[in-house]
Amino acid sequence: MMRPNDITIRDLSLGYGLRIVVQGMSCRIAAGSLTAVVGPNGAGKSTLLRAVAGLLRPRKGAIDTGGMAARQIAYLPQQADIDRTFPIRVQDMVALGLWPETGVFGGIGRGRWRKVHEALDRVGMLSFAARDIGAISVGQFQRVQFARLLLQDASVILLDEPFTALDAATTADLLRMVESWHDEGRTVLAVIHDLEQVRATFPLCLSFMGQAPVLGPTRVLLAHCPLCDRSAADDEEDGGRAA
């Protein structure tokens, strides 16, 4: 892994079509930091992650990654963005994490397959390697996606609602992996709805709960904020209704 740089966001505006989602946002995400992005649905959290990943062009302002190559930034989208009926095996999907090494044409020899199987073993999914991605549960699929992130070996990892709809054991396992990435010096930015999880694991918090996004220590921003907990409860209720 290469050392990450700070990510500096200056006067950033983002949107889709005629709708502006994020306006005039500025902050600096320090290299190697572990930051939770919190806020109600539709506040612009996922939009910000997409922009940092280079998938959405800013309307105004800029995101300065200090010259990091695109391959140094790994992005885990929400599960709904992936077609799980597609006939591909778990190990083949994880092998795509080697894309920065293999590119479009590079082969996957025995050494690389070993890496794939090691990554699957780390997330406890080695015995599912030959199954189709549609034949495993939501939680198992999220573990598979984490295995692919492991292989990408990126300096900056962006996670969009990585623990939604997962059971406690899977969430705990994957949270440990996020913490290990932080310990290795990678920058991690994750959209999280469970504020208790944020308080317990994430030292920094980028809050979309007020008028403008604010970045600061979690213990300060989420110290005692009935509005925050209310907002999270509303989100969970919305999710329940949608389900």
Binding site: A53, A70, F86
Partner: protein
Amino acid sequence: MTAWIWQTFCAPFEEFLFLRHSLAAVLALALGCGPVGTFLVLRRMSLMGDALSHAVLPGVAAGFLISGFSLAAMTIGGFLAGLTVVVVCGLLSRFTPLREDASMAALYLISLALGVLLITMRGNSMDLMHVLFGSILAVDGPSLVLVASVTTATLLTLAVIYRPLVTECFDPGFLRAVSGTGTTAHILFMALVALNLVSGFRALGTLMAVGLLVLPATAARFWARQVWSQALTATLLALLSGYVGLLVSFYWNMPSGPTIILTAGCCHVLSLIMGPRQGMLTQYLCRAKTA
């Protein structure tokens, strides 16, 4: 027995040159249509392929209007019309609230009407029938070269864009994040669809050509599990449909294009019922076993 098998299944092709030409054309078509059709179905674009097959008609008609039944003019016209519709659909879905399938449906209706009008301006109803439904028994040397060249180009291009194409099918967000090849792969793939439709129009007609793309590919899903094995199965089913369809049309004196597509349709229905991967019979037997 051996003599009877030879006489029934091989002798007609030995005896008639036009049948040999037709067989070579349909086998070459099947080799390209199998893998392209598989990706078309996996990308949930089967109906868009159908719409595109109508969209090439005005181009073919324009070629016909300018130089009669000239293979080159009609092929180039059809290909350009197909590409134009793909690009316009992409732009409409990007810059208007219309989704790509709705834009495609609108454009296909306009194209079909325009194509029929253009052909009837100069030709007669027989010409229109030839363009719409093809005439595989009139495949000549140049048409054969065209089909073989398109198939070669198709297989080579698919080999080059295979990895981004597969990734774009199920996880386009990941592909955009790791590589900028997604758009190129999408455009090249749509060009391949248009090219295969155009290469098939002489033999099967603009309305029927999509049948060899979609029917074997949808049937293959009931037999094979992975992308490559589905593409291989689709190719084998397309080859089988082409060969059996030609024989049936020869013995029973039927139009060959629709017979080939109907044979592919039979393969599809049989696969739907008997396919080991979630075919109706397999599902019924599984349920009966667990009940």
